[in-house]
């Protein structure tokens, strides 16, 4: 076991994947000498050379499209998109090519591309640096989407993503890059599937589902709720497409109450999908309508306002109160 930051854990996972498979190639802007703007690829170009850690021109569609070509040639590209809000120029290549080539070619062409995306807010950045675009990709068949919340998962799941023959969006919560945790580097990455959700905190009154940057916040909320006598079960989805609904369903059958929280905007978001799917699967076990605690349906605000937009501990607790039918900010309005 070693203690390392989130960013360092991804770096260690990338290093391990590159050591194990010479076909793994990293591509992105500023990932070479600089080590990426978040330093996640720090030192890798020095050790593996500029042909395996490729600094690219500043063109996201170009990066993604050439990664497709590299995959055709038998490589396993790991693409870094510098910030969430910069992914849109690559959207066409991701949705029309990366996601569909396996289907289009009846499985003849594999797209083992990992797309790393630092995402989410909370770091005081200007516009386009704090977005949560995951729902665009969970809505796109052919892609798998994951988000990691702690150094151990980051280390294991980046290797699982690279080893997968399906294309994967790997969302890294950028405000947690400096979060430290224990990482067991000897773990067998094939022992667990990447798709399984994880019960972070066991509880019996409310199921609180989240992923990525809000997992630590949700865990803190569960601690705060327990001081108030409420037992919250926190689930870290890890995989956003597909979602491990069996784990969520099992929990909701126990608690009868579901709160979903994410930074992304509410309407048409993952919370809606989770609420609908869980309602379909265990309607008769629910004691209350599922509750969503999310970012608002607004463009990501300037940084002085971002903590109004981002769900925090108190907003999550307010959501827990709603799910429990206890006095809450919307008391008297719900029906």
């Amino acid at each position: 076991m070693a203690t390392m930051t989130f960013g360092r854990a991804i770096n260690a996972g990338l290093r391990r994947a590159m050591e194990n498979d010479p076909k793994v190639v990293l591509m992105g802007e500023d990932i070479g000498k600089l080590g990426g703007v978040f330093r996640v690829t720090d030192g890798l170009q020095k050790d593996f050379g500029p042909h395996r850690v490729v600094d690219t021109p500043l063109a996201e569609s170009g990066i993604m499209g050439t990664a497709v070509g590299m995959a055709y040639r038998g490589y396993r590209p790991v693409v870094e998109i510098q910030f969430d809000g910069f992914i849109y120029p690559a959207f066409d290549q991701i949705v029309c090519q990366v996601a569909k080539l396996h289907y289009r070619t009846q499985g003849n062409v594999k797209m083992p591309i990992t797309i790393r995306v630092p995402f989410g807010g909370g770091i005081g950045s200007p516009e386009h640096h704090s977005e949560s675009p995951e729902a665009y990709f969970t809505h796109t068949s052919g892609l798998r989407v994951v988000s990691v919340s702690n150094p151990q998962d980051a280390y294991v799941m980046i290797q699982q993503a690279i080893a997968s023959n399906d294309p994967i969006l790997y969302f890294e919560p950028k405000r947690r890059y400096h979060l430290k945790g224990e990482v067991d580097e000897s773990v067998d990455i094939t022992a667990t599937g990447m798709g399984a959700a994880r019960v972070v905190t066991e509880g019996s009154d409310v199921t609180l589902v989240t992923y990525g940057p809000l997992v630590p916040t949700a865990r803190d909320a569960a601690v705060a709720a327990s001081d108030d006598g409420v037992s919250v079960e926190v689930i870290d989805l890890r995989s956003l497409a597909p979602i491990d609904f069996a784990t969520v369903e099992k929990s909701v059958r126990k608690t009868g109450r579901l709160v979903i929280t994410h930074e992304a905007a509410q309407s048409g978001g993952l919370g809606a999908e989770i609420a609908a799917s869980i309602t379909e699967r265990c309607f008769y076990y629910l004691e209350h309508a599922p509750v969503r605690v999310t970012g608002f349906d607004i463009p990501y605000p300037y940084s002085k306002l971002e903590f109004h937009h981002l769900p925090d501990l108190d907003r999550i607790l307010d959501g827990v109160d709603r799910a429990l039918g206890r006095p809450n900010s919307l008391s008297g309005l719900e029906g």
Partner: protein, 376 residues
């Protein structure tokens, strides 16, 4: 200093080795690239062009008869496709758009496979690795980046193969094509950008895409370019061979603008009489690629009746096999709709497939309304 100078004008000239009347034109640079092309080789190019024109005609007929959903004809572009594709080695890799059926023919595509997409039986007709050609690409220009990335992979591998990407004049307006040229130049990737400027992007004339000859753009990216008479199969072969040689020997990318004409509609769903002049069609008919080569062959006594009869017989045979393969294609199974979305199991899709199979099965045996299953 204005960049739009006389040197540019010289660069705009088309490389031409066979004049529209069939006369062999000599070229100080490009003659040597086709010095080995003897009478037999010319006859083979002629045969190829006649055969693919027959494929095009047969496919158009199949669409009119309701056997194909759609067909994008390449009538008039035979020389550009045959001349370039016949220059390639087996280990080169092609990334084309959807109009390069003639190129696919040269790569050795199975005739039935050529029809699958257009009959609606598949989203890609062939295994790309069986003929080293990616499937038809519908998103305009997207494939140019794939070719460039593939070429970057060739560089990593230390191989001397070349990636060749085909696209039209319309595609040159796309960001992807321009980004592909940036990447290709930066990494000196062994890729050939083969632009078939057929003058029309559905109804939009090339002047809407480009205010100067398209080939002029590439040098701005640091990529050498050449304009070639796209209706001259020998010239297309020569310029492609030169570009391949440059790529194989570490010289990086080349941009070729093959100036040709789309004699037919954009697809069988299009009606070009709404937007273009019949006179224009007549002008280009006079530059026909097959008639031109026939003229040269004839002048040299290389097109006796037995040769032209044999070529026609080959074309008819190919057309018959194409038709037979097309109409006898088996229908896909309902379950195929879920196949190959992922290469690994996916719980969401498995559930939907399971539910759809139950739904289909419900036509076979009535659904029990008491079980919990019925409400799933």
């Amino acid at each position: 200093m204005l960049l739009n100078n006389e040197a540019d004008a010289a660069q705009d000239e088309l490389v031409q080795l066979i004049a529209p009347n069939g006369e062999r034109r000599h070229h100080p640079v490009y003659d040597r690239w086709v010095a080995d092309v003897d009478g037999e080789a010319l006859q083979a190019l002629y045969r190829d062009m006649v055969v693919i024109r027959r494929i095009d005609a047969e496919a158009t007929a199949l669409q009119r008869q309701g056997e194909l959903a759609l067909w994008p004809p390449f009538l008039g572009q035979e020389a550009a496709q045959i001349g370039s594709a016949r220059a390639l080695r087996e280990d080169d890799f092609v990334f084309s758009s959807y109009r390069e059926s003639g190129v696919a023919y040269c790569r050795g595509v199975d005739l039935t496979d050529l029809m699958r997409v257009w009959r609606g039986n598949a989203s890609a007709g062939w295994d790309p690795f069986a003929i080293n050609m990616a499937p038809t690409q519908v998103i305009i220009g997207a494939q140019t980046l794939h070719a460039t990335g593939y070429a970057m992979g060739i560089l990593h591998d230390g191989a001397d193969s070349v990636a060749v990407t085909y696209f039209g004049d319309g595609a040159t307006s796309q960001g992807d094509v321009n980004e592909a040229m940036v990447f290709a130049a930066s990494y000196q990737a062994p890729v050939i950008f083969f632009c078939q400027n057929n003058q029309w992007a559905i109804s939009e004339p090339v002047r809407l895409q480009a205010h100067v000859p398209i080939a002029r753009r590439a040098p701005g990216f640091g990529i050498p370019s050449v304009r070639v008479d796209g209706n001259d199969v020998l010239a297309c072969l020569a310029v492609t061979r030169e570009a391949l040689d440059r790529a194989r020997t570490g010289g990086g990318p080349t941009f070729i603008e093959a100036v040709t004409y789309r004699m037919g509609p954009h697809t069988t769903a299009d009606d070009p009489t709404r937007y273009r002049d019949a006179n224009e069609l007549e002008d280009w008919a006079a530059k026909d690629p097959i008639a031109r080569l026939a003229g040269l062959l004839d002048a040299e006594g290389l097109l006796p009746a037995e040769v032209s009869d044999s070529v026609q017989a080959s074309a008819d045979d190919v057309a018959a096999r194409l038709r037979e393969g097309c109409i006898s294609m088996p229908e896909p199974a309902a379950q195929d709709v879920f196949k190959h979305v992922y290469s690994e199991p996916n719980s969401w899709l498995e559930r939907q497939q399971d539910q759809y199979e139950r739904y289909l099965a419900s036509f076979e045996s009535p659904v029990s309304d008491s079980s919990e299953e019925a409400s799933r």
